[in-house]
């Protein structure tokens, strides 16, 4: 926290952003979920998205890897514009990893199989190489001894760390996290956040939807406050926490920082 002026993760906000969202709109039927979202994310930048429930945070980050389709505006990821072109979608999914609130591990496969499935069948690595890298990742997230277990035999925190390892195994350039700690018991939140902090420090480009403000303060380069499908306010953690400009931001922060 000493170098307030440059970004925490050391990324430089110049040149072409790796993710570029321009005036993104989306509707569910008549319901206007995203109302013109603009966001540029640079390589190595750590972005925290927060805001009230139902404000469209999940919908927005799911548009970035095309789990949801936007209907207006442009999203460009690593130079590829998201469109109906299936090849573009496949290309982007190789570059973007995602971690879900509910882990979504494959319950019928072991931890090792969960992690190596993508590398073997999508990246086409041979099994030995995939398993070697999976072991390294399990060590990185601190649970190498669980490799042969099934997800159902692990605690929530361990499952979420496996999910992070599974996403990293594809060697993505960008990681998306949708409330990764919201389904966890309090005592397990820390172990997952530590893994994410280490990842942020290693230079990974990350978009994290979270209400863990301690995490945001420690690693975020930019914070975006979402409300009713729009970005109401953005800035560095210092700007957002110390000097929020909008009333809605102030109100929301006062509510979540109370406890």
């Amino acid at each position: 926290m000493s170098n307030e002026s440059s970004t925490k993760s050391g990324s430089v906000k110049t040149g072409e952003p790796i993710i570029k969202c321009e005036e993104v709109h989306k509707w569910y039927g008549n319901f206007h979920v995203l109302r013109g979202v603009n966001m540029d994310v640079h390589k190595g930048e750590v972005v925290v998205v927060f805001g009230p429930s139902g404000s469209g945070k999940s919908t927005f980050i799911r548009c970035i890897n095309r789990l949801e389709e936007h209907q207006k505006g442009r999203i460009i990821v690593d130079g590829i514009e998201l469109s109906h072109d299936v090849r573009n979608i496949a290309a982007i999914r190789k570059e973007v990893g995602m971690v879900f609130q509910q882990f979504n591990l494959f319950p019928h496969l072991t931890v090792m199989q969960n992690i190596t499935l993508g590398p073997i069948y999508v990246r086409k690595w041979n099994k030995d190489k995939a398993e070697e890298i999976a072991m390294q990742l399990l060590e990185r997230v601190g649970i190498p001894e669980q490799a042969q277990k099934y997800p159902g035999q692990l605690s929530g925190g361990q499952q979420q760390r496996v999910a992070i390892a599974r996403a990293l195994a594809m060697q993505p350039k960008i990681m998306l996290f949708d409330e990764p700690t919201s389904a966890l018991d309090p005592e397990m939140i820390k172990e997952v956040l530590e893994v994410m902090e280490e990842l942020a420090e290693s230079g990974m480009t990350m978009i994290v939807v979270t209400h863990e403000m301690g995490f945001a303060r420690a690693v975020a380069d930019t914070m975006y406050f979402f409300d009713e499908g729009q970005i109401v306010e953005s800035g560095t953690p210092e700007e957002v926490f110390m000097n929020p400009q909008e009333d809605r931001t102030k109100l929301f922060l006062s509510q979540i920082l109370q406890h």
Partner: protein
Amino acid sequence: MTSLTPAKDILPPPTERSTVLGWMKKNLFGSIGDTILTFVAGGLLLWLIFAIVNWILTKAQWAAVTDNLQLYMKGQYPASEDWRLWLLMFLLALIVGMAWGIFLKRAEAVGWVLLIIPVVLAVWLITLHRESWWRFLVVDILAMLGYFLGKRYPKKLARPTYILLLLYMPLVILVVRGFGENGFMKLVGTNLWGGLLLSLLLAVFGIVFSFPIGVLLALGRQSKMPALKTLSVIYIELIRGVPLITLLFMGQLMLPFFLPAGITIDRVIRAVVAIIMFAAAYMAENVRGGLQSIPKGQYEAADVIGLSGWQKMVFIILPQALRAVIPVLVGQFIGLFKDTSLVALVGLLDLLGIARGILANPSYIGRQLEVFAFIAMIYWVFSYGMSYASGRLETTLGVGER
């Protein structure tokens, strides 16, 4: 002291001492009402068992069964070619024994029951003065041999066992049907296939082919491609709206009108196709139930790691969906096995067809009860076997889940 050994404070759960008397007191004679019910139900049960055993041993005349054992088992299949069927039995015993040794590893009570059945059959045949009794003992010996080999060399034999299992069905057709006009393995036309042999062949082929077709139909019904989806829905709903017997009659009577003159399709094949078509539609609906039980998050997680549509289905969705519906599917397999008896109504001589044929013989007038009790028992043994195997499969596959 206590602070050093806190573990000592942890008490084991209280154990209920269970004795036979204790169990009976609790479950059978807990109250006056229970006691009355126990006596009434117990009395009825005893009376029923006595009546049945009495009928089997003293009243029933089993000639209609014992005179025609060959017919029940294999219909008109020529006696000179019996060795082919026994050869297949022997091979099956060996394969099952090996698979048991490799995958289950333990002998288990069921294993013993399975081994006792051929012994009982052999003893029965001896009392009937049949010469073929020793063949059942060969079946047992081969099964045990397979078991010990499988247990001893599980790694080496796993692959050959899989291959044998896969090859077994085509081999059955080749050996049962044969080839060439005469000589070694001469052709035995399907018109001579019958009895349990035919029933089992119909059931096994019905199951083995309707299953993948059903899975494809279920996937088709879920598909985003409108043409595929519509076709699947139409097929499923059409077939489900028609009784199997109608399909069988259509296959036997109407199909010849649609085929060009001179082309005939074997009657057994027509029946089997009707059974497969019928079962596939129901299979599709059951599999669809399994597919719907898979949470959306599983699809998304597979998408996110970049799996293609087919990879997603094969590696993630289907294994979970099928596992969820094993009991339903096995129930359907059992139903299918019993439904094969409908082919008797279109003139095929399966187990039921043979039974009806035998009862038409004037010397067996009035022996319906014996004959139907006998074939009912055969159907029951196989159906219960499938049901039991499915229970085992569920527990085996359930290991380490959730």
